[in-house]
């Protein structure tokens, strides 16, 4: 389980966890039944307040993405349409693409130039 948490970001840490888990579940990286690390593990690994982690988990539990069972690790809920539609997954990407769009405009880059670079980068990720 990998989280990239920035304490000095304007996005509260619990929401960074929520967003990253949601991406991984929607993208199929985490499947039904997969166990999540415990609150304590995440808190200690990232040196963050345990309440922050449990708040993020509870939110996703309330949304039905995660399931809590007594004495066992949290797991990804079964029976989710795990592979959500491409459209839904694109929605999750929108905030960072908006930033790319803004910065590309400031740099005076054309959409084609940006897309070419994006394609290259995604090919590299795949490889």
């Amino acid at each position: 389980m990998y989280f990239d948490l920035q304490s000095e970001s304007s996005t509260p840490i619990y929401r960074q966890i929520v967003e990253q888990l949601r991406r991984q579940i929607n993208g199929g990286l985490l499947g039904p039944g997969d166990a999540l690390p415990s609150v304590r593990q995440v808190a200690e690994q990232h040196t963050i307040n345990p309440m922050t982690v449990s708040r993020a988990y509870s939110l996703l539990e309330a949304e039905g993405l995660l399931v809590r069972r007594r004495g066992k690790p949290m797991t990804v809920a079964a029976g989710l349409a795990t592979e959500s539609s491409a459209r839904q997954r694109l929605c999750l990407l929108q905030p960072c693409l908006e930033q790319v769009a803004r910065e590309a405009r400031q740099l005076g880059l054309s959409p084609d130039e940006v897309v070419t670079l994006l394609v290259e980068l995604m090919d590299k990720e795949e490889a």
Partner: protein, 290 residues
Amino acid sequence: MKDPCIHIENLNLRFGLAQALKNVSSTVGSGEIIGLIGRNGAGKSSLLEVLAGLVVPDTGSSQLLGHESRRLPDSLREQLGFVFQDDEMFGWMKVTDHIDVVGAHYRHWDRQRALELAGRWDIPLSQRVASLSRGQRQKLGILLAIVHRPTVLLLDEPASALDPVSRREFLGELVELACDGERTMVLSSHLLGDVERLADRIWLMRKGELIIDERLDELKDGVICLAFQGDAARTLPELQGIVNHREDEWGTVMVARHPGIETLTALEDRFGPQLHIKALNLEQIALELL
């Protein structure tokens, strides 16, 4: 809220002409971690000293775990841990002896853990306290405050002299303590990245007043920076909650608290690319509000 662990009401404290605390009130539930921030002289240390019962306020009351801070029974004192800026340690004592002298006051003192921490934090056990470096001395102060696993921890700039690695280890110990969700901490610090990691609630003090007492994530979501390019802001209608406003050659920058999503959407529709809306991190919020 669970049982209140800290309850302060209308605290006022004056040192000569300076008003160190001005009508400070708040209630903290058990398990909460408060990040106390403010400029030098804002009253942070005074507040912590009143909480600990070391300073008597001119008016108002301060309670810890249901008892007046000034009159805590010994059974409760054992559950407290403090790190203050003027640590009162005996310079002539050896580190091990100092650990044992403090430990003698606590029933739940874990000597093994104290020695293990001292080893891990490079505090030389056989040296005299007076010969320790500032950082080592601060680490010893922290060790003495946490080894008995206190229920309430009051920390006044505990990590100001620590290197980044030691600081992270110290934060790790606090996280470990916080994992059972029942320990209350008030951590004053200028290291706002550390505060963001640990605190779930922020007390922001200015000139003796507690001007912000809010959950960290609500604070972060609620303070919005609006930057209007050029003279776009000139046609701006009156906005609610503006806490800061400045103009320069580039345009106008405003900082608003809880402007409301409808207002933001309306502004975005109206000003388009001439308006940049930005959320802020704690350091930026402190720079805007302090």
